[in-house]
């Protein structure tokens, strides 16, 4: 276990190094599809796909709130917490910045249904207060970041625990694969909107996934690692 941890740390340091080296300027937000980027048809399509999750999430929160009124303030503050984490700009040694997205953390803590609502609100504020992402593209961004990411993270976490993986490994995989899932869905969304002339969707997907992978894969690893450390600290409390 001790050895594994050292290895994980080594890999993480390597990952972080390459991530900072490749990408010295804003990258976590690179996965926010900006305003006007998606053709109107696709924008509507992704909204339509996301809305049921939000409505379902709101319904389940409403049900719980009537039993525990304090849940509402807890979720409201959690939204702010997730936003602040995503805006966390801490200059690291190279002078670049990192932005932990906290999708995995949120999903493991609050469950994926509540996260789809909170995540959408966080994305709304990211476009309103930070100009990251957009309003017409909010549906698409919410689908990848507030729906798919948390569901994957939560599913992997539960699966990992069932398969008797250690807590740390489950959390790491959950957070990392949640991030990767988000990145793949975004690539899918982009390539559906902009299929290649030759090879169509698939060729385009390879291009988008390839080019964003350079920044997103190291980021997913570092986020996975960070989430493990955070969860370990949280358990101590």
């Amino acid at each position: 276990m001790k050895r594994n941890y050292k290895w994980a740390l080594l890999i993480a340091v390597l990952g972080l190094t390459s991530y900072f080296w490749v990408n010295s300027y804003k990258s976590a937000y690179a996965m926010h599809i900006m305003e006007g980027f998606l053709p109107i048809g696709w924008a509507v399509f992704w909204w339509a796909l996301t809305l049921p999750f939000i409505i379902f999430g709101l319904k389940s929160i409403q049900k719980n709130v009537s039993e525990h009124p304090e849940l509402k303030t807890m979720l409201g503050v959690s939204g702010a917490f997730a936003f602040v984490l995503s805006a966390l700009k801490i200059p690291s040694v190279t002078g670049s910045c990192s932005h932990p997205t906290g999708v995995g953390l949120g999903a493991v803590l609050f469950g994926p249904t509540a996260m789809s609502v909170i995540g959408t609100i966080v994305l709304l504020f990211q476009s309103l207060l930070l100009a990251h992402g957009g309003l017409t593209t909010l549906g698409a961004n919410a689908f990848s970041m507030a729906v798919v990411g948390p569901f994957i993270a939560y599913g992997i976490y539960k699966l990992g625990r069932k398969m008797k993986l250690s807590f740390a490994v489950s959390v790491f995989l959950a957070a990392m694969l949640g991030d990767l899932g988000t990145y793949i869905v975004t690539s899918v969304q982009l390539s559906l909107a902009f299929p290649a002339e030759v090879g169509g969707f698939f060729a385009s997907f390879i291009k988008f996934a390839g080019i964003f992978g350079i920044t997103q894969i190291p980021l997913a690893i570092s986020e996975g690692l960070l989430t493990v450390i955070v969860m370990n600290l949280l358990i101590k409390y």
């Binding site: 006007g36 702010a80 966390l88």
Partner: protein
């Protein structure tokens, strides 16, 4: 603390009714996205930029900084669209190409046009978004969301999130200073443990804040109507007429330049 939020409260259009601002921004935004017409795109960008800089009096340098913000994503995506790879056997009509083994790396005219159209649409669209967020405070946006009859629970969560963003940002800054002054964040290993400690510490404080907020709300006798917003202003008829004229104008342009 957050620049955009500050401008939203102090800009020169802060007293214009939010419904008008939202309508103005969305009319242009929707026309831009739906028509994907370059002349509409350029017109939108010019009108929005003028409104932001001259009407709302947002400093030009700030506006340019904001415009550059999504450039990384935009340029990466445009490059991805422009450059294609295909087996040499395929039939393409490239503008430019190189051969590597049995593959073509090439750029076609259609790809180039698609990328440029995309660039125009995106710049026009984000100028609409910037007009909206730089002139309309969250308070006014909450009012709009309420008029759109979104679920109360959703609006309440949005409102609380907004308020506590600033409380927690303050706390995060305090923790960050305390850590730095005791030599946190000095190298990679310190960096990641320091960030983790900061997140956990902030999480504990968040849950405390939530409890305090709950007590404060209850002590003032209510759980309902947390964010009933009063907009102390009326809709201006001539400006509404102006927006109608814009709609007709944009419609005409999109038909003429089809």
């Amino acid at each position: 603390m957050l620049k955009i939020d500050q401008y939203a409260y102090i800009n020169d259009l802060k007293h214009i009714h939010p419904a008008e601002k939202v309508a103005f921004a969305f009319v242009f935004l929707l026309f831009t996205i739906i028509t994907k017409n370059n002349s509409i795109g350029c017109l939108t960008f010019i009108i929005m930029s003028i409104s932001v800089v001259f009407a709302a009096k947002i400093p030009l340098s700030q506006y340019i900084k904001l415009l550059l913000l999504p450039s990384l994503f935009l340029l990466t995506s445009m490059m991805t669209i422009v450059i294609s790879v295909t087996p040499i056997s395929s039939m393409v009509n490239p503008l430019w190409q190189i051969e590597i083994g049995s593959w073509f790396i090439y750029t076609s005219l259609a790809n180039l046009k698609q990328a440029l159209d995309l660039g125009t649409t995106v710049m026009a669209s984000i100028s609409c978004l910037y007009f909206l967020i730089l002139t309309t405070s969250i308070n006014q946006i909450l009012w709009v969301l309420k008029q759109l009859k979104l679920p109360i629970l959703f609006i309440e969560l949005v409102g609380m999130t907004y308020r506590f963003i600033f409380v927690l940002l303050d706390k995060m800054h305090e923790i960050f200073l305390a850590q730095s002054s005791r030599l946190g964040y000095q190298n990679y290993k310190d960096w990641i443990t320091s960030v983790a400690q900061l997140i956990v510490s902030l999480f504990i404080k968040s849950s405390q804040s939530a409890k305090e907020l709950q007590t404060a709300i209850e002590s003032r006798g209510g759980e309902e109507g947390l964010y009933d917003i009063e907009i102390g202003m009326a809709i201006n008829r001539s400006r509404c007429a102006g927006i109608l004229v814009v709609v007709v104008g944009l419609l005409t342009i999109s038909i003429l330049t089809r």
